[in-house]
């Protein structure tokens, strides 16, 4: 756009001679109105007048009052040139400042928008997590009936294949111990950063003296995710017995006593992670009463010693063969699963006082059977289907047992078994294929008890 300089009558050629720019037009102020001599939408850069005497006599429209006015001095023409340059420079600076302010405003708006988005995201996250669990069991290694004994002053280390962040508590399986002894078991989390954090034994409900015992932190671990290990040091006087979990092929992840080779098994434990301030579920109260020092006992019973099994839960859509039966010649209980889901059998009304742990020896009985999954569970007699959710009483599943494969399945009761109980036997197919010859056999049961059976039951 060309700039316009208004000049008093008779000055046009003189001013043009001074400015000498084709980008600036000089327009003489005549008797006509401003709308006639100014191009539409054009605002003049300056007004050049002959002398101060005529300055007030030149009548201009009101909207031109704030346009800078310069005097043309025929003796000092260069001054007009410098005035125009200064005027242009001032306008350039003003424009740059305006642009700077616009950039600043835009940056502030972007920052505010970003903050708003973050706030909305926080609200969204909050709403989203309202129904979510606030804690998780990051590791869960159930005891398998094998123990490790700690002498006074001895220490154990167990790598935890989970990050340290948010760990809130660790449960250990103690077959038999007194509460006051547990306080002498020092439990620490060792982080890769070198930090060592002590966990305090949490008071258990109802004076539990055997089973899962909790060691907790006052607040979940903060900081970046990093590798960690559990370190246990026994400060008591006699030996301390702890339960071991499943066997592991990699000795790096097995429990290791100080100065000794690694065991074949991991420590039986549960690692809880949670948000700060969240109440974790109570440890299962499998122990009973107080004052017993007994370590418990166990015995093996065969299916022929138990009541006959019956089908308990089957998939609603199952149209293939499913069954539960006692096979006398094999002395085994058959549970035949469906392609459409697991089948659960029940052995009702078995005397299992002070049951602490039940294991089953399982076997895929036919050489052309598909691979099968097995699980065992236990419930107080008559309560197995009181809420329609029998699965909660099952132990961990053993997956993908091949034809003629053998294994063990285990279950720690989720509630105290004080007398008669129902045993649950579940089998499912490991892969989606016909269920022909799916002979899921339960060959025997190991029943572990504490020997502190309540008086009322003896």
């Amino acid at each position: 756009m060309r700039a316009v300089v208004l000049v008093q009558n008779g000055l046009k050629s003189l001013v043009e001679g001074v400015i000498r720019s084709c980008s600036i037009s000089c327009i003489e102020i005549g008797s006509q109105s401003a709308n006639e001599f100014l191009p539409p939408g054009q605002r003049p850069l300056a007004i050049v007048l002959k002398n101060t005497a005529t300055r007030k006599t030149v009548k201009l429209p009101e909207f031109l009052n704030d346009v800078p006015r310069f005097l043309f001095d025929p003796e000092n023409k260069e001054k007009l040139f410098l005035d125009i340059i200064e005027l242009l420079l001032a306008q350039l600076n003003a424009s740059e400042e305006d642009a700077g302010c616009a950039r600043l405003s835009a940056a502030i708006l972007r920052a505010e928008n970003q903050t708003l988005e973050q706030n909305l995201k926080s609200v969204e996250d909050f709403l989203y997590t309202l129904g979510n669990p606030r804690f998780m069991r990051a590791l869960s290694w159930d005891p398998v009936g094998v123990m490790v004994s700690l002498n006074p002053g001895a220490a154990l280390a167990q790598r935890l294949p989970t990050g340290a962040a948010s760990i809130a508590a660790v449960d250990l399986w103690v077959p038999a111990a007194l509460q006051e002894d547990i306080a002498r078991l020092e439990c620490r989390i060792l982080c890769a950063s070198g930090n060592s954090i002590a966990l305090e034994p949490a008071p258990a409900l109802a004076g539990v003296e055997a089973g899962w015992l909790r060691f907790a932190l006052s607040t979940p671990l903060r900081g970046p995710e990093q590798d960690c290990a559990l370190q246990l040091t026994w400060r008591g006087e006699g030996p301390c017995v702890l339960g071991l979990g499943h066997a592991v092929p990699d000795p790096a992840f097995a429990v290791r006593a100080e100065g000794e080779a690694a065991q074949d098994h991991v420590l039986a434990l549960r690692v809880w992670k949670s948000l700060p301030g969240v109440h974790l579920p109570e440890v299962a109260a499998v122990g009973l009463g107080k004052g017993s020092h007994g370590a418990g006992d166990a015995n093996f019973i065969t299916p022929s010693e138990l009541p006959r099994p019956e089908l308990f839960s089957t998939p609603p859509l199952a149209r293939d063969h499913i069954s539960a039966a006692f096979w006398e010649n094999e002395d085994a209980i058959l549970v035949h699963p469906s392609r459409h889901g697991p089948v659960c059998a029940v052995i009702r009304d078995v005397e299992l006082p002070a049951l602490s742990h039940i294991s089953a020896l399982v076997n895929v009985g036919h050489p052309r059977a598909p691979s099968l999954n097995f699980s065992v569970g236990v419930a107080p007699h008559g309560q197995v289907d009181e809420d329609g959710y029998w699965q909660r009483r099952m132990g961990p599943w053993v997956h993908g047992l091949p034809p003629h494969g053998w294994s063990q399945v285990h279950c720690i009761p989720v509630e105290p078994i004080v007398g008669r109980a129902d045993i649950l036997l579940a089998v499912s197919l490991a892969t989606d294929q016909p269920n022909d010859l799916s002979w899921g056999l339960f060959r025997g049961f190991r029943i572990a008890r504490r020997n502190n059976v309540p008086q009322a039951l003896q």
Binding site: E97, A99, A102, R103, L104, A111, A192, S193, G194
Partner: protein
């Protein structure tokens, strides 16, 4: 604009004309705390005219508290070194320098936090801040208690860091990558 701050900010820029506005705006905002004395922007031969326009506009409103220098492209480290040199020449008594990338910003209160760090740790010369990514939910924490084991696994030392002047004297005033 105050000129009593202890810290000068150095922004090397190339190819981020839009993000540059946010970086400078964050410094402009933090200058109000009085902790920042000067902003030095090194145009490392940016190919976008927008960068020059942006610098001209910011210069117009920031005046002497901003020093914009234009060079042919020589790389990020050279640009930072030029910025360090210019900042030390402009303010020989400056206490510390902060290297801010053109695509980064400072959170509110960052300048005051830098000033506190300088005061609380007079024997420390290099300070790494925690940082976030735009649009991501991760928060990157510089390890408060340095651990060799932890750093062997992950090392979060953001280039945007605070350097005490004695650690960037001319003899050693160079960053390399």
């Amino acid at each position: 604009m105050t000129t009593t701050g202890q810290i000068s900010i150095i922004i090397p820029t190339k190819g981020h004309p839009v993000l540059l506005d946010d970086a400078i705006a964050a410094v402009h905002r933090e200058m109000a705390s009085g902790a920042i004395r000067r902003l030095v922007v090194i145009d490392d031969g940016c190919e976008h005219a927008e960068t020059r326009a942006s610098l001209a506009s910011w210069q117009a409103i920031m005046g002497d508290s901003m020093l914009a220098l234009h060079f042919p492209n020589a790389g990020l480290s050279a640009a930072r070194n030029r910025g360090i040199k210019a900042a030390l020449a402009a303010d020989p008594d400056i206490e510390a320098l902060f290297l801010l990338d053109a695509d980064n910003t400072l959170v509110e209160g960052a300048a005051a936090a830098c000033q506190r760090a300088l005061a609380q740790h007079p024997d420390q010369d290099w300070f790494y801040p925690e940082f976030d990514f735009f649009g991501q939910r991760a928060h990157y924490i510089a390890d408060h208690d340095p651990s060799l084991l932890f750093h062997a696994h992950v090392n979060l030392c953001e280039a945007g860091s605070l350097i005490r002047r004695r650690a960037s004297m001319p003899a050693s005033a160079s960053t390399r990558r």
